[in-house]
Amino acid sequence: MDKILRIDMGAPGGPKVKVDGLGSYAGLGGRALTSMIVATEVDPMANPLGAENKLVIAPGLLSGTAAAMSGRISIGCKSPLTGGIKEANAGGQPAQVLARLGYAAIVLEGNAPEGKLYKVYINKEGVKIEPADDYKMLPNYDLIDKIKASYGDKVACISIGPAGEMKLSAASIACTDMEFRPTRHAGRGGVGAVMGAKGVKVIILDDSGLQNREPKDPEKFREANKKWVDGLRSHSVTGTALPTYGTNVLSNIINESGGFPTRNFKEGKFEGVSAISGETFADIETKRGGNPTHGCHRGCVIRCSGIYVDKNGNYLTKQPEYETVWAHGANCGIDDPDTIAMLDYLDDNYGLDTIDMGAAIGVAMEAGIIPFGDKEGAINLIKEVGKGSYLGRIIGSGAAVTAKVFGVERAPVVKGQAMPAYDPRAIQGIGVTYATSTMGADHTAGYCIATNILKVGGFVDPLKPEGQVELSRNLQIATAAVDSTGMCLFIAFAILDQPETFQALIDMINAFYGLNLDADGVADLGKKVLKAERDFNKKAGFTAAHDRLPKYFYTEKLPPHNVVFQVTDEELDSVFNF
């Protein structure tokens, strides 16, 4: 992983490939690398869909090694959704394969001429770029079927669906999973629209003939990896809860806490939660012959995903994530697992962020386009996006745009990006993260739910403003570092509680690269990434006024606890004082 592949999609005479050394980017991976490249090379005032923007795809520092959980990929750019810097993170196979191919990053530069669409094929011999006109407007599943016919199913793909080609600002980038299905998405911030603007439909990664990356100190690395896996397996969240029920085990608990946003963030409890809970999904998957315990990439030992099958036992989609179940479920007043699974499949197929889609439909329901709870109506709205109708393009541009177009005051967004599945009035820590994250409203950027609700890493009362800024700050720093390793963020549950498991992760990085990093060094990396991102956003025009929740979260009380967001502006402005 000592080179950067740059492809100028707008070069005269067609796409031009250049392979660079790492230069000043040496030692960086994942989010650290995508954010540093974007912050250094992209004009903060660039139009996100313009030729000046770059799309950076980077595996993590430990991707492509034998390290368990190291299959996360970071995709960065200036976001068409937020107007700020973006790192969207996905699982699936591409991180491992790209790392084994030796690339620390692929950087797509320039824009292909309007109407041109390309496929990029990368193997150990090099890079081949060819027109992909026969792939135009193909949904992701159809695209992957075609690729399978030509390249087999041992490759890994990074692709966009019609939403990306239409440059919709909630378009995702799909990564194929272990079964070569396009189910793992870099969902947030409209990264798919940037890939569409570049004119790249799919990147096909072929690592045949290549082995895992070799550590500098194989013995120490093996030892640390063993401790790492033992730590993950022995922690009750990563070892039992996530494998058994998946991420959607949260529906019940967040609902019980009164922070489960229901019908476009109007209430904090959903009466239909039982029907869409993780317990119910796992039960359905087992009874119908699906699978409730399945990893998203090889080398995953947590296996929080699953396979969802329809009533006849046929594959429908991967096990929908908690965020998806909430977004298309409670947030839309829908309590039917099959409808939610279908919406998940459609989002994946057209290449859309499930969070912004659920939030956009919730807004459309509030506007009266369809009523809350309308299952068929919700499916039809996503199908409209796939068709590219005017209505579909509005929905596919996310909750903020949908709210503007239909005159809805309650747009649950920060910096243009929809809030995920936790109401910041009932869980105030996550509100600090939503408000101040460089990414817009993003739960993963500083997952205060761990400490506010799950009692992992201590406990801070979710209903009070005290202690939330410090909690969010520390988690945002730690997350920026973890996102740079290629590690799945769910390792945080184990490392927050078990110092020896955190040490095993540091030992693995040290043994692999021959470094002497300690916990402070990890925190320093996180701070460096956040500072670069903040600086980019500032130059892009963001001020303290953008680090706020929408006004109604300060004034409209959320039942059942009847609370508003109480963290003061001064406190929010102190999050990045480090």
């Binding site: 039992t240 996530l242 959607n248 949260l250 608990i253 806490s257 009164g258 317990e279 993963t444 799950l454």
Partner: protein, 74 residues
């Protein structure tokens, strides 16, 4: 006193999802957990009427108690 008790995830195995229970007055969460034969380490998150509680929290008539094992997601 009468209570509504809700169990989740693995705690449901061999027990129940929701049950109306009759308990002596002055009961604490710990008494309830012992009665249900739940290991203390398995009762990681406790809500009483949607507010975080702990083993020492005193229960009262008509409380709704929700008990979760250690869980996480996102």
């Amino acid at each position: 006193m009468k209570l509504r008790v809700k169990l989740f995830a693995t705690l449901r195995n061999g027990r129940f999802d929701i049950k109306e229970m009759e308990l002596p007055d002055e009961c604490k969460v710990l008494d309830l957990i012992k009665l249900l034969k739940i290991d203390q380490k398995d009762a990681a998150i406790i809500f009483i009427n949607g507010i975080h509680g702990d083993f020492d929290s005193l229960l009262k008539e008509n409380d709704e108690v929700s008990i979760f094992p250690p869980v996480g997601g996102g």
